[in-house]
Symmetry: D2
C-alpha cells in the first residue's frame, strides 16, 4: 500500500549540484549552527547537524526552531535541484510536526520533492536524530516553495 | 468585522512571568541567535531579535528557519503563561508563512494564545521586521502546544 | 499588545462583490452542504452554514472536513475581493486547527486577508459555532492563495 | 535515499477493522459526498470518492475542501486502527497542499500513520485523482490526531 513511485526527477540544469552547494555556502545561518549539506541528488538533499549545547531548548533537547531550520533548508534545496540554472527558490511556508525529542550525536534532515511545478513546488522533509548509530524520526515537515524565474532582460 | 475579543486570560500561576523568563533563559538556542524576551503578559509574549549577518540565508535576509525559531518560542511561551506552575509546554507543530523578506534592524515576534485548553493550546505569532521605526509584517504562524502536567506522586 | 491594524484594503476591481458572489454561486459543493455567502467586503468575507445531521462525523458534531470547506472558501474569497477583475484565485494550501466541537444552529466562517501580494495572498479564517446566540470559536485556519492573472491575448 | 521503513504497526485491538468501519459508517458527512472506506489495514486506510458535479468548485474541479474531507478522514482512521478498543481519535489539525486539479472518475485518499504515540499520532495522506486508470497525485496532507482514552471507572 505504498504510494506509486514518483517519476524520476530530471534536473533542467546539469550543474544543479554545484549551484545548490554554492547557495548553501552563502547561508550564514547554516554555518552558525554548524549544519552541512551532505547529499545533493535530483529532487532530494540531506543536511547534517551535529548536536551542540548551544542549540538546545529549556530541556536540553535541540530547539524545535533549529529542527525547522534544517528541515526548511533541506526541502528547499531539494526543490532547487530541479529548477533552471537562473531560477531561485523561496520558502512560501512550511508546517513542521515534532514527533520525538531531538537528542543524540547528530540530526539528519532529508528533504524531497513531492511535486515540482513551474511556479510552485511541494516538498517534504523527515528529520532523524542519530544516536549510537540508531536513527529515530524526530520531525516531519510539509512545505511550499516558490520558483522565481529570472526576468528576461530588455534585449532577450 | 473583527472577531470577538477573547475572554481575558487569567493565569493560574501568579508567578507565571518569572517562570516563563527562567525557562527562556535556559533556551541556549535563543542566546546563540541573540534573541531576548521583551514582554511577558497573560496569553502573550514578545521576542526581539536584532538582525545579524550570521543569521542570514543566501540572499542576505534573515533565514526563514530563524524566523521560525522566534515565532515558535514566542507563541510557545504565550501558552506557557497560562499553564499551572508545575506544568510544561511542548511544541506539537507549527505552520509558518513567510510573507515578506526579513530585513531591518530588528525582528519582533509576538505570540498570542488563541485557545488555552487543558491538554492542548492553540496559538498564533506575527513576526515584524523593524526598519527605521517602521514595522513590516514578515511572517505569520499558527501553532499547537501540548501542556504537560506534572504527574501526581505516590501519596497524592 | 494587538498587532498594528493592516492598511485598508482597496479593491482593484470596483465590481469585486458581484464577481465574488457569482463565483461562489458556481461552487456546487457549497450548495450541497447548504453554505451561503453572507458578507463580502474588501479583504474579508463571511460564510454561514446551518448545521444539519448529514454534515456530521461519528460523534454527531459537524465534520472537521466540512469546517475546512467553509473556512477554505471564506478565506479564498476574501483574497478574491482584492484581485483584478480578470484574475482568479486558487488555494495552494491551508492548515486548520479544530479547537472545539462544532455544534449549535449555525457555523460562521470569517475569512480575512493578512497580506495580498501580486502572485500569492496569505489569509486566515476563524470559524464560530453559534448556539442560542452565543458564538464559540471552533476552528482557526491559515491559508496560502495563488492569484492567477489572465494571460495577455495575441493582440494585447 | 528513501527513508527507513517504519517498524510494522501492530494493532492493540485485534478487532480494529470492524471498529473503524463502524465508526466510518456513522460519519454522515461521508455518506453525503458518497465516500466509501475501501481498505483498512494496520496504520493505513483508503477512502474512495467517485466524482460528482455537486462536489465541485467554481471551475468544475472537486472542491479543495472536499479533498480535505477525505484526506482528513483517511488519515484519522489510519490512526484509529492502532488505538485501544475503547479509545477514540480526534483531529487536532491538518495541513493540506493541493498540487493538481482534482478531476477524473474517482479520488483515492490514502492515509498512513507516521508516528503512533500514546496521546498524539502524526499521520499523512496522499490523494490521487484517477482518470482512465491513471493515478495523478492531487493533494498531500500532514495531520495531528489526539487519542482519547476511556477514563477508568470508579471500580477499575
Amino acid at each position: 500500500m505504498h504510494r506509486p513511485l514518483p517519476e524520476s526527477f530530471i534536473p533542467r540544469d546539469p550543474a544543479y549540484a554545484g549551484r545548490v552547494r554554492a547557495s548553501f555556502a552563502r547561508q550564514r545561518a547554516m554555518a552558525l549552527i554548524g549544519a552541512t549539506l551532505e547529499r545533493v541528488e535530483p529532487g532530494c538533499t540531506e543536511i547534517h547537524l551535529p548536536t551542540r549545547d548551544d542549540l538546545t531548548q529549556q530541556h536540553g533537547f535541540i530547539h524545535g526552531g533549529v529542527i525547522g531550520m534544517v528541515a526548511d533548508s533541506a526541502a528547499g534545496y531539494a526543490a532547487a535541484t530541479l529548477v533552471a540554472a537562473d531560477a531561485e527558490v523561496l520558502t512560501v511556508e512550511y508546517k513542521l510536526n515534532l514527533v520525538a525529542p531531538a537528542e543524540g550525536e547528530c540530526l539528519v534532515a532529508r528533504g524531497e520533492v513531492v511535486k515540482s511545478g513551474r511556479s510552485l513546488s511541494i516538498t517534504r522533509a523527515d528529520v532523524f536524530a542519530v544516536r549510537a548509530g540508531a536513527w529515530r524520526l524526530c520531525a516531519v515537515m510539509q512545505q511550499t516553495i516558490m520558483n522565481l524565474h529570472a526576468r528576461p532582460g530588455p534585449s532577450s
